[in-house]
């Protein structure tokens, strides 16, 4: 009996863990959000993380989740566990951080001549 309860409990905890992890993991990212933006001028940019990276053939997480030290990109280190604003600090003015995001997305789209580049293509109402 005791064993059964233990098994049930373990299954339950595992199930909850799976749900929580999937819900909060990168797998399910649907839009770009950053808690540093207190007042939102526009809805967060639509971004289906996995679909995008598959289509864009991006395997290296560090392409976006990069880490810089002393102005140089650290090759083997990535920063998926952090928000962009942890390094690209906002300090009251959102313009620099917005621009960082834009140049990361739009800049690459311009370079590759693929993907959305106009305001309303990403910030969908």
């Amino acid at each position: 009996m005791k064993k059964k309860i233990w098994t049930l409990c373990s299954v339950f905890v595992a199930a909850v863990a799976v749900i929580v992890v999937t819900a909060y993991s990168q797998e399910n990212v649907k839009s770009v959000q950053d808690s540093a933006f207190k007042t939102k001028m526009r809805p967060g940019a639509v971004f289906l993380h996995d679909e995008h990276n598959k289509k864009a053939e991006i395997d290296d997480c560090g392409t976006c989740h990069h880490v810089y030290k002393d102005g140089f990109k650290v090759e083997d280190e990535t920063s998926e566990d952090r928000e962009c604003s942890e390094c690209h600090k906002i300090d009251g003015d959102p313009v620099p951080l917005v621009t960082k995001y834009h140049l990361r997305c739009k800049g690459c789209h311009e370079e590759k001549k693929a993907g959305p580049i106009m305001c309303s293509e990403c910030h969908v109402r």
Binding site: T39, M41, R42, D93, V95, P96, V98, T99, H102, L103, K106, G107, H109, E110, K113, A114, I117, M118, C119, S120, E121, V124, R125
Partner: protein, 219 residues
């Protein structure tokens, strides 16, 4: 979409700014030369003190007799011009584009404020249109080009509002928005919109003549 967007937001911006700034300089120089040739007294009578005095009275609402007589027109005109100049210069989306291109930025309006100000511009244009059609003395002075100029001014604001709110066809409208802004910039030196550059001189001369010669107020 990439090619057309990059074209209207790249080379065409440069073309329009060159024509706008170059056109303004050309118009100022050629007008100065024309005045020297045809109306040299303008130079003799121009007086900085009286010019500034007149400009000062005419850029403050209800400071002139004419403005007091037309309160609605005065309010609409001032609201229109203030919004017309502030919205494009301090719109968040414009600031971001400039920051992306040249890494410079400045203070911006909240989007909701800019939205209201845009509606003020469009509403004012409708008022000016109706006024041209309805008011006999204005109708008499109106030529078809005046309607075109009104459309040129209203277009960037209507298309901008449309694009921002993402009404049907907003992507194409976004392109038209950029184009219409460029058309308006180029139109400034070469149409009646040139009052932007000539205002200070026409008002200044009026002030000078009325102040220094006739010794009366011109407001």
């Amino acid at each position: 979409m990439h090619d057309i967007y990059n074209f209207v937001s790249g080379p065409l911006v440069w073309v329009s700014f060159v024509l706008f700034i170059g056109g303004c300089i050309y118009r100022l120089i050629s007008m100065a030369a024309l005045a020297k040739k045809k109306d040299p007294v303008v130079y003799d009578y121009m007086n900085l003190r009286y010019a500034l005095r007149s400009i000062f009275h005419w850029i403050i609402p209800f400071r002139s007799e004419n403005m007091k007589r037309h309160p609605v027109f005065t309010i609409v005109t001032f609201a229109f011009h203030i919004c017309l100049i502030l919205v494009p210069l301090f719109l968040f989306a414009h600031i971001i584009l400039i920051k992306e291109s040249w890494n410079i930025s400045w203070w911006f309006l909240s989007d909701s404020t800019a939205d209201v100000m845009t509606l003020i511009v469009v509403g004012s244009c409708i008022y000016f249109l109706v006024r041209r059609i309805v008011q006999p003395e204005v109708k008499f002075l109106t030529s078809p080009s005046d309607y075109l100029i009104l459309a040129i001014v209203a277009a960037p604001f209507i298309t901008g509002f449309w694009t921002y709110h993402q009404f049907a066809g907003h992507k194409v409208m976004g392109i038209i928005h950029i184009l219409s802004g460029e058309i308006m910039l180029v139109a400034i030196p070469f149409t009646r919109l040139s009052h932007m550059i000539f205002f200070a001189f026409t008002r200044g001369y009026m002030g000078s003549e009325f102040g220094a010669i006739r010794h009366v107020k011109d407001w």
